[in-house]
Symmetry: C2
Subunit: 431 residues, 2 copies
């Protein structure tokens, strides 16, 4: 009988406990031995639902960590303080650990993988990236035997919901965000989601799985969706694009790109069809081509579903049925790659320039672009949205981040330009 302890009974913790109790028979079919949740810890444990099961409760997670009867610790506290203690000490106590904690892995994963390997324990984190989408499994089993050229993902449901509502309902960012909070799709403090940090945590984990590099969250380029306007969504749509918040990692010439930012996605790219709070991850490999995984990236039940698949693996690990998890701890960090500076990364750019409607302004702008060797693939001049300026919208050819920055600064210094220029990266059809 394998004893399981759950630390943290928030939404995901409660769903996990419920799933383990209500689907016990179904899960038991997939394990070679019996199991039971015997202990749970939560700061407010008395208010939590035990679903009729006989479980020892405590408000001190460390009691579970130090309980020698427990073999598997499920850490669902979140954050990088207590959760870190729980995970690190559990592993040192030779317990198998399952977590949904993307922040902790992205910021301290190298240490955790090393510890897991040294202590010969199972470390499962399927739920840490994109909830129910089995992307960790797919990258570490199915796709491990070939060269991954890129991973491109919609990996933050809050951002996707807000941008999707702005597009379909013409809402402002502020109204869409307020709706998202109302429906439970955004936290009370949504900074981490809309600022891009949450997506950056996830893409950092995916990059380490795909390219076997150390966790490199600290070197990721992070841009949120706060400055996206309905106007840009409309203009992008007219040019054949949806604006999505995308995480990208890509390898070329021994260096790895790692970035999250708003992106114009071509209508024909299936990622552009991912609506609402849904997540999707497109992986390109040299043999399998393009594969996309689509599903619920958050929410108690969906995230718990990923935790449960790890529970089965952990139980089978303890019974020596499946030790393949050790391979993951081995791989992450085994390769070294330079993380490419965003200024050196090449992209097409969408630019919206609000210019005074005076003769010669277009010539001034195009001269500056020409001097920076930036050519224009598409340009549209729109009716003025207000009395003062007209929006000039263009898509450039492939240019580096530093070139576009220089050109934008020069254009902004023109006397005919009164507002900041909007620049958004553009995804290619099969990127």
């Amino acid at each position: 009988m394998i004893k399981i302890g759950i630390c943290g009974l928030g939404t995901v913790g409660q769903s996990t406990l419920e799933h383990l109790i209500k689907h016990k028979k179904l899960i038991r079919h997939n394990t070679t031995t019996d199991f039971e949740v015997t202990h749970v810890a939560d700061l407010d444990v008395t208010s939590k639902d035990m679903y009729g099961a006989d479980i020892v409760t405590t408000n001190d997670a460390m009691k579970l960590v130090n309980n020698s009867e427990i073999s598997i610790i499920i850490e669902l506290i979140g954050g990088t303080t207590i959760a870190s203690d729980v995970i690190v000490k559990s592993i040192k106590n030779k317990k198998h650990v399952i977590t949904a904690n993307k922040a902790l892995i992205a910021e301290n994963g190298d240490n955790i993988f090393k510890l897991a390997k040294e202590n010969n324990v199972y470390f499962g984190f399927e739920a840490s990236v994109a909830g129910a989408i089995p992307i960790v499994q797919s990258l570490t089993r199915n796709m491990l035997n070939e060269k991954i050229s890129s991973i491109t993902g919609i990996i933050n449901g809050t951002c996707n919901y807000i941008l999707d509502q702005m597009a379909s309902e013409g809402l402002s960012f502020e109204t869409a965000l307020s709706d998202a909070k109302k429906f439970g799709y955004a936290e009370a403090d949504p900074t981490f989601d809309i600022g891009g940090n949450d997506a950056a945590h996830k893409i950092a984990i995916l990059a380490s799985l795909a390219y076997k590099i150390p966790l490199s969250y600290n070197q990721a380029y992070i841009e949120g969706i706060q400055n996206i306007t309905p106007l840009d969504i409309k203009f992008a749509y007219e040019l054949g694009y949806h604006i999505k918040h995308i995480g990208i990692t890509k390898e070329n010439n021994q260096s790895v790109e790692l970035r999250v930012h708003p992106t114009l996605v071509p209508k024909e790219n299936i990622l552009s069809q991912v609506h609402n709070v849904m997540n999707a991850i497109l992986v390109n490999g040299d043999r399998f081509g393009s594969s996309m995984f689509y599903g619920h990236g958050a929410g108690g039940n969906a995230t718990a579903s990923a935790v449960i698949s790890n529970v089965v693996e952990a139980i089978n690990f303890t019974m020596n049925i499946d030790k393949s998890n050790l391979n993951i701890s081995d791989l992450v960090g085994s390769e070294k790659r330079k993380i490419k500076d965003i200024n050196d990364i090449t992209n097409q750019f969408y630019l919206r320039i609000q210019a005074e409607d005076t003769p010669g302004v277009m010539a001034e702008i195009t001269n500056i672009l020409a001097n920076e060797k930036i050519s224009i693939e598409a340009v549209t001049q729109h009716e003025p949205e207000n009395q003062k300026t007209i929006p000039i919208v263009m898509i450039t050819n492939d240019v580096t981040g530093s070139s576009i920055k220089k050109a934008v600064n020069k254009i902004e210094s023109l006397t005919t330009i009164k507002e900041n220029i909007v620049s958004i990266r553009v995804l290619k059809l099969n990127e």
Copy 2:
């Protein structure tokens, strides 16, 4: 050193061999022991590429099956005759087997799973359903711990290509099929693909994995795309649908639906956005919600990619690193369910009725529908496409297959109706 033999060096066989040789170093990282392809068999082996490797060749697959040095047999001959012998005898000789052979599993899988279990060998078939899409892995690991309500898939690239070309280019079925042949997306004899049998093989395998039932291909309802016209694609589009060829399996009330047929898919359902030869499989579970897997369902490299992921599993199986594959052989067939008769299955239907443009015809039709308790959710009457008849297009409410059949027969017997009625099933948004 694990010795591997490949039987069948067609497109997938050659890609598999190439991948195993060229990516050897990468693959070797993921196995705990070394491996080598030592033998290959093909009827026309002298014309095949060995990619510079030192390999024993033969035109007799049974020589590999009976070679005691070989641990893993990769069967890529296809079909249900010699391939069956190769697989069955290899398993009896205690060899681990990997195959991409959907026909053989769909038609004889129960026996093969039983044999694999009895002989304690690995049996891998990831490549048999939807090529590079890791759906076997996902269903048998990640999604195994909850109730799957339905699986809905675009699982035949030839059908999807033809319907997509008919929709985007306005081509006739015949022209689109001829294009598909030209580009290598359809076989010289495409009957099995366009008739739906290939998709039925795949959905039968998925149903057995999701519901643990014996392989039930023989009880599947199979309808191909031969009778789809550009006119119906156009009318469906006007009503908000794309016509796709879909495989569906679904469980309710202890019975399982198993069917493949052309289907009207709502534009908002992400399956409708799967274009060209791409495959996609949407799985609905009671906890994870909706997940979709999208990718290349055919082609040498994509299919070989799935074979290779099984090679790593098979090697790790021999080394006692990962025995979890045995669970699959255990599960398939462990549950019994009635396969629901298509006449008892409820769907919305698209109907196109070519009627004479005479007074009272609509009343006659709607009276017949009312008598069969079929109500109409949408109806459009179009301009006549020819001089004789006008197309009346409608979407019904949910009705059984037998009700619609009765109504269609009665309407067709009206003197004002001169052509056969087109009836196509309609998918719901989240189905």
